[in-house]
Amino acid sequence: MALVYPQFAEELKRCGVETTLECFNRGTCAAICPLIDEHFPRKMIRYAQVGARDKILANARDLWRCLHCGLCTQTCPRGANPGELILGLRRLALKHWRRQSHV
């Protein structure tokens, strides 16, 4: 079971992501992504859309597999900018880890 945060898209805006809710789950990003791996980045984007913050943080290391190559952003039919969303999630996870290590 996952907790969801309805305000997550707002939180991501503070990490530089304006397009969290644009995605309509077409899957072009996962098809073109050179990582060819378990629906990356689509799965992370889905988690972000439904506000599954904990799921993202539990799998956060995977975010650093992204090459920032931009192919997903180039081909996304919605202009949802998946590559930048992954970058924004990295910022979120890093902030979280840094806060934790200061506790």
Partner: protein, 308 residues
């Protein structure tokens, strides 16, 4: 895969301390210019961002990280904050060979030569040639990146510098797109190949251009290097993925997973080899990766300077 936070914290601390990712003085890293008569005043500043000069060190560190990643020790590399830190510092001090350093330095010297031969009004001041901080942005440390970028932008502006000539895609993207966003300061940025006026008539040669992601896609700058090649009379052999749809060489994953880099690189190498032509790269990270994979490749600067 290594612990991203450990790697980022290490790189961020180094950038804070020494303004480059290695934690050693930039003056040790940046030595390509020492026996070249430099102009210290002019219209635009040559701004290398220290990327070419860094590749021999990055490669040595990555090689050792890769060996560990697949080893029995990998399990302990969650302990990894110590291992990468040890290797990064050691990589800097001991591992890069003089031969490798000379090889990448010579590309910056070639760029200098191309600009001189093209009658570009430019100058170079090694003490103002800073690392852009791009790795911090790519790894998600936006605050660290913004802090460093503000320092660099302010320092350059204080010296009256408005125009930059860049030499690699990562620094170009940082200075052209990211700096205005995070520092509020803008520069007029051009790559050296947009300014090249070197001409020749070498009808016998054919090459394949490997567009790096940042030139091909993010900056949509794949026409300019093709024009440079055309001006030399050299023919192109197209590769399956190019321009805005170019394939990544895997370089960006290097600091957290050399194994992943190797997988992605392998696929790109297959595409490039299928053209049967020698490859021309425009990014020191791509070039280093392609050479390591046994591709017959050279940098655009090396090729153009041969005719300059």
């Amino acid at each position: 895969m290594y612990d991203p936070k450990a790697i980022i914290d290490l790189i961020a601390a180094n950038v804070r301390k020494t303004r480059n990712p290695f934690g050693a003085p930039s003056s040790l890293l940046n030595r390509w210019w020492r026996d070249i008569p430099l102009r210290r005043e002019g219209d635009a500043m040559l701004f290398t961002g220290l990327m070419y000069q860094s590749v021999p060190y990055i490669e040595q560190t990555t090689k050792r990280l890769a060996r560990l990643e697949d080893s029995f020790w990998a399990r302990y590399v969650g302990l990894g904050r110590y291992v990468p830190s040890f290797l990064v510092c050691l990589g800097f001090r001991l591992m890069a060979t003089d031969r490798e350093k000379r090889k990448f330095d010579s590309m910056v010297r070639d760029i200098h030569k191309i600009l001189v031969k093209s009658n570009v009004d430019f100058f170079y001041r090694p003490e103002l040639d800073y690392y852009s901080g791009i790795l911090l942005h790519d790894l998600g440390d936006e605050e660290g990146f913004a802090r460093h970028a503000s320092f660099v932008a302010k320092t350059l502006k204080a010296k009256g510098i408005e125009k930059l000539i860049t030499v690699d895609p990562h620094t170009t993207y940082a200075m052209k797109v990211l700096y205005p966003k995070v520092t509020g300061e803008s520069f007029q940025v051009k790559t050296y190949f947009e300014l090249s006026k070197v001409t020749a008539n070498d009808g016998s040669k054919r090459v394949t251009l490997h567009d790096p992601c940042f030139y091909g896609r993010y900056l949509e700058l794949s026409d300019a290097p093709r024009r440079v090649i055309d001006n030399l009379g050299i023919g192109h052999v197209p590769v399956r993925s190019s321009g805005v749809f170019t394939s990544c060489c895997g370089g960006p994953a290097e600091s957290v997973s050399p194994r992943l880099t190797a997988e992605v690189l392998h696929r790109r190498v297959e595409e490039l080899k299928a053209t049967g032509a020698p490859v021309v790269a425009m990014c020191p990270i791509c070039l280093g990766n392609l050479l390591r994979a046994g591709v017959q490749a050279e940098d655009l600067s090396t090729l153009v300077a041969r005719y300059a």
